[in-house]
Symmetry: C2
DNA sequence: CTGTTAGCGCATTCAG
DNA sequence: CTGAATGCGCTAACAG
């Protein structure tokens, strides 16, 4: 493992000079500079990020905390977050907040937060509010991403989108297609809605149009959407459309329709929210509301890095609404029958 | 940020003593010990992993390098890898090997390998062989996971499974169901097969049974499977079964069958390989060969950590075949018509 | 322009 | 049983 000192010795200069050369600080003569570079090159020198971090008090990583990497949304987010981090010369540490048994692992967070990583990015949509606040040690730069209800977020800088608007768009689309019997399917954890804002946005719009929408709560997964839709489709009169607050639920609903022998979109329209990659890959492809995951991931990472660089860059309760949800028309919705 | 020294000062002892207490080395008297602990507790002391790493020359992270986190297989693997790493007190750094333009990002790997992270875990199935060897700096503990062809792996410790056997199992299943016109759909990158061993295993078994199987190569994705199957299902006589070397391809094939108006599994059987979570969530659910991703992720991480702890723990070309592929019968396969 | 001097926070000898 | 000393690899003032 060749170190700064090694190359200093060989180049016949001091460590400081090597450091200056390699960091392009311009205090060094062209000749020495060239020599140092040559030696560094020849020895395949790579600075040790740990040592750099220790010396200048700035970790080269950020930690991303979430509940389930295997969820297609989170993995997509992680992918974009990693790219955004890398653009600013940082690495991404992935951390499951929860232990296998489901409880929050605070010791783990404590070890990583603010030391190994310069800050923490919390993907909020699944993580409980009180837990969050207590799990991250005080004073560690923290940004909350994807918090459902912008109007009521914890006292942390928060980067998210207008979920209410997303819900409204989905409802609007179905109404515009002439649907009146619209069932709403909302993601929940136990008996608590996880998609409150989308749900509110959707039902508000529906009520505006004189359509009343009770919502069915279900676990946010394909299986959950399937189960719930199977029940919903038994109702008489049957809904002509299902509005799912998340794509996985919507995909499950499409499957249920298939099993019930209903043609999508001819006999049943289904719309989701998020636009995970899977939405486009399903048959029929899912009409959904694109929330622009990439921009949010970018903005979240950038906000966190800004906060790390400049602890007062963001107010403790700063709120950034990123992007504007937009409808993506695919094959799962059509004119009401 | 409270440091070791802070608590030493307050507890009225030296830093070494604090370290000894907190690391349970037993050299310290019960009373001082208790006092130190109390102070550490009260001040919310958390050791700085960076400093620890620098001092004892051991990074608390490992890097996982792969081509696409959004791929359901990789995200599943990453999830399990993170758990395995955490069990041994390490964090997981995720690294996309490729830049957005597709070329390998060696500078990035160089920065992380062996310094920020103690070692590198490379998910091989998509990464080119020559690239791999050159991208990771010499002397950095490296483990290759999921390499397709165990018989011909690069000169790196390698943890994988018997993909040939997985292919054989899939073929065997279809043969046992009485299928004779079996189309094989194999993942490829450009015109190079990515799933060579599975393909060989499958075609070998098919040939054994007197069934000849030319393979169709396609990009390994749902869309790719869909495209390829659309073509295959035009043939006369039509195949009664499709063997896909990966689940995404299989899922695409099922979709294509649907569009061609063929009932799965009555008129067309489809079998995949891997058993990603999506396989179980599709309708019909995909019959597939489970490769036990979790055990492989565990074994890979453990092998890497062993290698880091003991550089000679594994031979430079050690090969570990983990688990035994097993067929998971679901709803996409049935007796040949 | 270059080298010397201090740390960054911690772990580990080695004397006391 | 304890504490002072040393070093991990690097950066950032300083002096020269």
């Amino acid at each position: 493992m060749t170190t700064l000192r090694d190359i200093a010795l060989i180049a016949g200069v001091s460590g400081a000079t090597v450091s200056n050369v390699l960091r392009n600080r311009g205090f060094v003569g062209a000749e020495t500079s060239a020599r140092v570079r040559e030696v560094a090159q020849r020895l395949g020198y790579r600075p040790n990020p740990m040592a750099q971090a220790l010396a200048n008090g700035r970790a080269p990583t950020i930690a991303m905390v979430f509940s389930d990497l295997a969820n297609p949304f989170y993995s997509m987010f992680a992918l974009e977050a990693e790219r955004a981090a890398r653009r600013r010369d940082h690495f991404l540490l992935v951390c499951h907040a929860a232990k296998p048994d489901g409880t929050l692992d605070t010791a783990y967070l404590g070890a990583v937060a603010g030391r190994l990583s310069g800050g923490v990015l919390i993907l909020g949509s699944d993580l409980g509010r009180a837990d969050l606040l207590s799990a991250v040690p005080n004073g560690v730069p923290t940004v909350l991403a994807m918090w459902e209800d912008a109007a009521d977020h914890p006292s942390l800088p928060c980067v998210t989108l207008d979920f209410r608007e997303a819900g409204r768009l989905a409802a609007d689309h179905l109404l515009a297609l002439g649907h009146r019997r619209i069932a709403v399917l909302a993601g929940a954890r136990g008996d608590r809605v996880s998609h409150g804002a989308r749900l509110e946005g959707a039902t508000a719009r529906l009520r505006e149009a004189g359509v009343l929408g009770g919502a069915t709560l279900e676990e946010d997964s394909i299986g959950g959407g399937h189960r719930a839709a199977m029940r919903l489709l038994e109702a008489e009169p049957r809904p002509t459309a299902i509005l799912a607050t998340n794509d996985l639920l919507g995909i499950g609903a499409i499957q249920a329709a298939g099993e019930r022998g209903l043609a999508v979109p001819r006999e049943l329209s289904v719309v989701g929210i998020t636009d995970i990659w899977l939405a486009a890959e399903m048959r029929p492809a899912l009409t959904t509301v694109d929330i622009d995951t990439r921009r949010i991931a970018d903005a979240s990472v950038n906000a966190l890095l800004d906060l790390i660089a400049e602890p007062d860059a963001l107010a403790r309760d700063a709120l950034r609404i990123v992007g504007r949800p937009s409808l993506v028309r695919r094959a799962s919705t059509a004119q009401a029958p």
